[in-house]
């Protein structure tokens, strides 16, 4: 968490500082302040959307407080106050403060700029508390999403300029400092509504309890065809489908198929073959790296059972291999349409898929044995760094970078055919040695077993 967090904050601050110059570049004839005001309404809507997915509601454990002599209104204030300190609110601060500093250096009046920051933070608080009120309501989500799309469409086709309509509204926050009172008053009002609502709900059986979903049973009988491995495969599929975090990994992987469009459609990259190798490795291996790097931590909450049950370690690993193999093949099939951009795209993707199958699968499984961090499957799906550690970033190096280097070397010395051929041959060699490699990995997992069991038992704070 630490590493990624610092990285994120730094990039936000950098983006904030650079935003002034960027806006100046894109809209040279208007003040960056006006430009940012134009997009303010979109930012609010997008932030509401993102928070819907990412921000955890403060469903804190109120149980211990209920029997202590603490007033319910105090508890309500505490819950709400805690959410004000949420990391998502701080993120905005990291963006706008550098932006404001650049404004000051460019001769914008200090009072206006400072009060503008206050105003923006008040709006952030409004967003924060509106999000609590929304309380993960799907209908509201669809509503916000539609407004966002509708606004953009109106803007895009020039029917009605949403940007121009709202620009003066938000620009006023800067131009007339006194208007800062409006978002503050609004934030206070929404806070009060939340407070009233919460205070009456502080009972164990009321709103604060998380709800349980009705189970839908499926026996996935077709997995039986895989013999002994079938039952593990079935277990993995159920795990992926019934837990938020794994499910979102699948969605993310599927979306990443479009990543190729970014590169294939731009002339800048059309001559850069190594870039295409990167895209190929990335698209066919996205599930491999996203899911594979946390094996066996996905099973962490019941790992001691898996280790004492009648499960040979090898069978367990083999079933993971087949699952990832299927994903690589599937992702490759999804990238087939890129043949539209030329046969070399298809050839590169094919070579990359083979390399992923033969070389990267054993590598990622091997590094999996270093996993010692527990993953709670049912916790917030997006932006969850649980189970991640520096190892994960190190693993990505051999998995992503090495094939690109190999490809580049052979591409620049010889040609595309040789480069693709080398990747494919490496993949096929790895595939041929599969049994031997899995044996090695099995030994490694057996050696690390006790450490994993102990590590997975420790609940993350």
């Amino acid at each position: 968490m630490g590493f990624m967090g610092v990285y994120l904050l730094l990039s936000l601050a950098g983006a904030g500082a650079g935003m002034y110059f960027l806006l100046k570049e894109i809209f040279p004839d208007q003040s960056p302040m006006w430009s940012i005001s134009q997009y303010f309404i979109y930012w609010i809507l997008i932030e509401l959307l993102l928070r819907y997915f990412m921000q955890k509601l403060p469903v804190m454990d109120i149980k211990p407080f209920l029997t202590t002599p603490v007033k319910k209104s105090t508890i309500a204030h505490y819950i709400l106050g805690r959410s004000a300190a949420s990391i998502y609110n701080v993120l905005t601060l990291f963006f706008i403060v550098p932006f404001a500093i650049v404004l000051l250096f460019n001769g914008y009046p200090a009072v206006n700029v400072l009060l503008w920051i206050v105003g923006v933070m008040a709006i952030v608080m409004c967003i924060n508390y509106v999000n609590l009120l929304v309380n993960k309501n799907d209908k509201v989500l669809i509503g916000i999403g539609s407004i966002l799309v509708l606004g953009y469409v109106l803007d895009y086709f020039g029917v009605f300029s949403v940007k121009e309509f709202f620009a003066p509204v938000f620009h006023a926050l800067y131009a007339y400092p006194i208007t800062v009172l409006i978002p503050i008053a609004l934030a206070a009002l929404i806070y009060y509504v939340n407070f009233k609502y919460l205070r009456d709900k502080i009972y164990l059986d009321a709103k604060l309890q998380s709800k349980s979903v009705e189970a839908n049973t499926s026996d996935l009988a077709w997995t039986k065809r895989f013999g002994e491995m079938g039952s593990f495969l079935q277990l993995d599929l159920k795990m992926i489908w019934r837990n938020k975090r794994t499910k979102s990994q699948v969605y993310i992987s599927l979306l990443m198929v479009f990543y190729g469009l970014v590169f294939y459609t731009q002339d800048m990259y059309s001559s850069m073959m190594p870039m295409k190798a990167f895209v190929g490795i990335f698209m066919t291996g996205i599930f491999l790296s996203n899911f594979g790097q946390f094996i066996p931590a996905w099973d962490s909450s019941y790992y001691s059972m898996m280790m004492s049950q009648n499960i040979p370690m090898r069978k367990y690993l083999e079933s993971k291999v087949s699952l990832i193999t299927v994903s690589v093949v599937f992702m490759f099939l999804l990238t087939l349409p890129y043949v539209y951009f030329g046969w070399d795209a298809l050839a590169i993707n094919f070579g990359c898929a083979l390399y992923n199958l033969g070389v990267n699968i054993p590598i990622i499984l091997y590094f999996g044995s270093f996993n010692k961090k527990r993953i709670e499957l049912d916790q917030s799906p997006f932006g969850n760094m649980q189970g991640a550690s520096a190892t994960q970033f190190l693993v990505m190096l051999p998995v992503m970078v090495v094939p690109i280097i190999i490809f580049s070397i052979f591409y620049y010395i010889f040609n595309l055919e040789v480069a693709v051929g080398v990747l494919s041959v490496l993949g096929i060699i790895g595939f041929a040695m599969k049994n031997y490699l899995i044996d090695l990995i099995t030994e490694q997992y057996k050696k690390k077993k006790y450490g994993m069991i102990a590590g997975f038992k420790e609940k993350a704070s």
């Binding site: 159920k238 019934r242 280790m307």
Partner: protein, 239 residues
């Protein structure tokens, strides 16, 4: 069936278990009692090769537990809720365990039918995932799952805790029946002296990691245990 020799577990400078030798013959119902921190769960975890012994070893039916995996087919256990897979329904969980132990659906169904009473209609057909069941019901599912596949050694850690009175009585019956089978060795740990003396032929008391009592259960056993643990609490604080 189970032979323990020179077994010890040391964390840092603290010795949490030290058993010179302990022999559990086939078919015995073996009870383990002791206060918190006495080393009961440590012993069971060592039996299941979940932790590594600092010295010594355990031999389970001629298989040395920490060097071979061959004890797994005939040994089953329920230690705590980490033995359950939260995102499965109880049925799916039973079938999965059945799969691992070479039992088909019909075999598992036949076994489950015997435990209808024990489940009390709260486990099967509930359309709930295991993670959404109450602690007691989770325990019921875990205990019954450990009976799947005709295991020769059954290890249950604190099976009576969290169960309601009716279920506790039924569980005692079940364990007794299991123990009555000549080839099944049952290992149970408990804080409840009455239950454990009722279901076990032999009781071993652990204290600070060491075996302090090894008794064949008789009419006086309960009294003896109560005196032992009573004396622990009545011990005057002298320095």
């Amino acid at each position: 069936m189970i032979t323990i020799e020179n077994l010890s577990k040391i964390y840092g400078s603290q010795q949490v278990l030290n058993i010179e030798s302990l022999n559990i013959p086939t078919g015995q119902s073996f009870g383990l009692v002791g206060n918190n921190g006495a080393g009961k769960t440590t012993l069971f975890s060592l039996l299941l090769d979940l932790i590594q012994p600092s010295t010594g070893h355990i031999i389970n039916n001629d298989v040395q537990v920490n060097t071979s995996e061959d004890w797994k087919p005939f040994t089953s256990s329920f230690i705590d809720e980490t033995f359950l897979i939260g995102y499965l329904t109880p049925e799916e969980y039973f079938y999965f365990i059945g799969d691992l132990r070479g039992q088909n659906k019909a075999d598992v169904d036949a076994l489950l039918a015997q435990y209808q009473d024990f489940f009390h209609g709260e486990i099967l057909g509930q359309k709930k995932y295991l993670r959404d069941l109450s602690k007691g019901n989770q325990k019921k599912a875990g205990i019954v799952a450990s009976f799947i596949g005709n295991p020769k050694v059954v290890i249950l850690d604190e099976p009576f805790a969290n169960l309601d009175p009716t279920t506790q009585i039924r569980l005692k019956q079940i364990i007794k029946e299991l123990a009555a089978k000549e080839d099944v060795t049952v290992l149970v740990s408990s804080h409840d002296l009455i239950h454990v003396t009722e279901v076990c032929e032999r009781i071993v008391v652990l204290n600070k990691g060491e075996v302090v009592k090894d008794i064949e259960t008789s009419a006086e056993t309960l009294k003896e245990l109560e005196v032992f643990f009573g004396a622990e609490s009545a011990l005057p604080v002298t320095e």
